[in-house]
């Protein structure tokens, strides 16, 4: 059984990553991680009639690739967990019609990757299920439409804006031993430092990432040194600098730290401060970082997926932006 450390962290003994799969959109395909994705689409429509259907198609491809890699059929999975950015998490809920298995739809904004994976790991560790599949997706056009403006609307973007990544990713965790294990998880608290600018997600979310990291370090008595790499989900260039400055303010040295929003794209791509969205952390972690663990480049990494839990309605009503971050520690298994 899992050991519940004081505070908000769980340590796991037998949760393993069976397989994972990633599907990326056109902008991500042109980024530095191209070779790490299982499938890439050249067009935002992905051969569908609407962007919403395109996102669902990507999510479905990711789930199918993941099952195929694990040599499993759809009904072999005990439980599915999924979420996305759209209202009523339509991508995941509609996709879940195909599974015919228990499904937990979850919303954690851009932190959904770690939220679903963390919950799936808890279920496996607790012995409640043998294997669970967690997936998430985001699409630049569907997110822009819901949270900002129409895609073709000509407006000058704020310099602090981030770019919602297009893609989907899925991961299967089980109690069967494999080369990577989920070692610990820290579920975050909702933090709100009264930020109101929906075009500045990095600044809004950095305090949440800071809080979760501090809690994680304190609960497990660890520091930056205990990880080969710590990545935040989508703080972007600006948020990354803020988080670093926050730790430095109290005299703590920040090492081995990067942000998925910065890793996913080239500096020269038109993505403003960096990538964001559920797919951002999922593509980088499930696609690129897990491969690095497998190859032995890293031994242990920590994903701190950040999410801004805002809605356009609340923003227009002058409400502040609550934010959350969940941390997941992944480790290469040395036999």
């Amino acid at each position: 059984m899992c050991s519940f450390i004081k505070g908000s962290s769980f340590l796991f003994d037998h949760v393993y990553v069976t397989s994972c799969a990633t599907v990326a959109g056109p902008m991500e395909k042109r980024g530095p991680l191209q070779g790490y994705f299982d499938q890439c689409f050249d067009d935002l429509y992905c051969g569908e009639k609407s962007f919403e259907l395109a996102e669902r198609r990507m999510a479905k491809r990711a789930v199918l690739h993941c099952l195929e890699k694990a040599n499993q059929k759809m009904d072999d999975i005990d439980i599915y967990l999924g979420g996305d950015l759209l209202n009523q998490i339509v991508t995941s809920n509609y996709l879940a019609r195909d599974f015919m298995r228990p499904f937990l739809g979850m919303y954690g904004a851009c932190s959904t990757s770690a939220l679903t994976l963390g919950t799936a790991s808890c279920l496996v560790e607790g012995g409640l299920v043998n294997q669970a599949l967690a997936f998430t997706s985001s699409h630049n056009a569907t997110a822009e439409r819901q949270y900002r403006y129409p895609v073709e609307y000509g407006i000058q973007k704020c310099e602090t804006t981030t770019f919602t990544a297009t893609g989907a990713a899925a991961i299967i965790v089980s109690n069967q031993k494999s080369d990577i294990r989920v070692e610990a998880v820290t579920f975050g608290r909702v933090i709100d430092l009264e930020q109101k600018d929906p075009n500045d997600m990095g600044k809004a979310m950095a305090p949440a990432a800071y809080d979760t990291l501090k809690t994680h370090f304190k609960d497990l008595n660890r520091s930056f040194e205990d990880y080969d790499l710590i990545v935040t989900g989508d703080l972007s260039k600006y948020g990354k600098q803020i988080l670093t400055a926050m730790f430095e303010e109290e005299g703590q040295k920040v090492t081995h730290y990067d942000d998925c929003g910065c890793l996913l794209y080239h500096e020269s791509q038109p993505i403003f401060q960096g990538g964001s969205g559920c797919a951002c952390s999922a593509l980088v972690t499930y696609g690129y970082l897990l491969e690095q663990l497998r190859q032995g480049k890293y031994h242990r990494i920590l994903l701190v997926a950040t999410g801004a839990l805002l809605s356009p309605v609340m923003t227009m009503q002058k409400e502040t932006i609550p934010c959350i971050a969940h941390a997941i520690s992944l480790e290469a298994v040395t036999s």
Binding site: V151, E152, Q156, I242
Partner: protein, 145 residues
């Protein structure tokens, strides 16, 4: 960490705002659109015998159609991202707001999609345009009669 300390830290790292560069781009691009409009007006009046009164709406419509086509081709937003207010303030900006909203909602059908969403962004301009012209009309009536 309290809000005050946080704001101080965040302010130090804030990405630079290129106010001067953006103003210059807006000034030049807005000027270019104005010059094109004047060119169209001159051509209409000199070569097609339009009176000024008739040429002005034709010129506006030409710009609107051009902006709609550019939006449909996916170029307008890319240009406007550089030009900013230079392409946002002229009538082309209004045309773009309507076309982009219409394009966005075409997946929801003609009536409930395009029909009801077309003015999603431009509607506020119309609402306040009508309200302010009514107020000005009342003021004018009171003082001139």
């Amino acid at each position: 960490m309290d809000k005050k300390t946080y704001e101080r830290i965040a302010k130090q790292k804030k990405p630079k705002k290129y106010v001067l560069k953006h103003s210059l781009y807006a000034f030049i691009s807005g000027g270019i659109i104005g010059a094109i409009a004047q060119g169209i007006l001159d051509i209409l009046m000199n070569y097609f015998d339009f009176s000024q009164e008739k040429a002005v709406p034709v010129m506006s419509m030409t710009l609107v159609v051009a902006a709609c086509i550019l939006t449909g081709l996916g170029w307008y937003d890319k240009l406007a991202d550089k030009a900013g207010a230079g392409m946002f303030i002229p009538i082309t900006g209004f045309a773009n707001s309507m076309t982009s909203s219409a394009l966005e909602s075409k997946s929801e059908g003609l009536v409930l999609g395009i029909g009801s969403n077309m003015f999603k962004l431009g509607g506020t301009v119309i609402t306040f345009g009508i309200v302010s012209s009514f107020i000005l009309g009342v003021i004018r009536y009171v003082f001139l009669h």
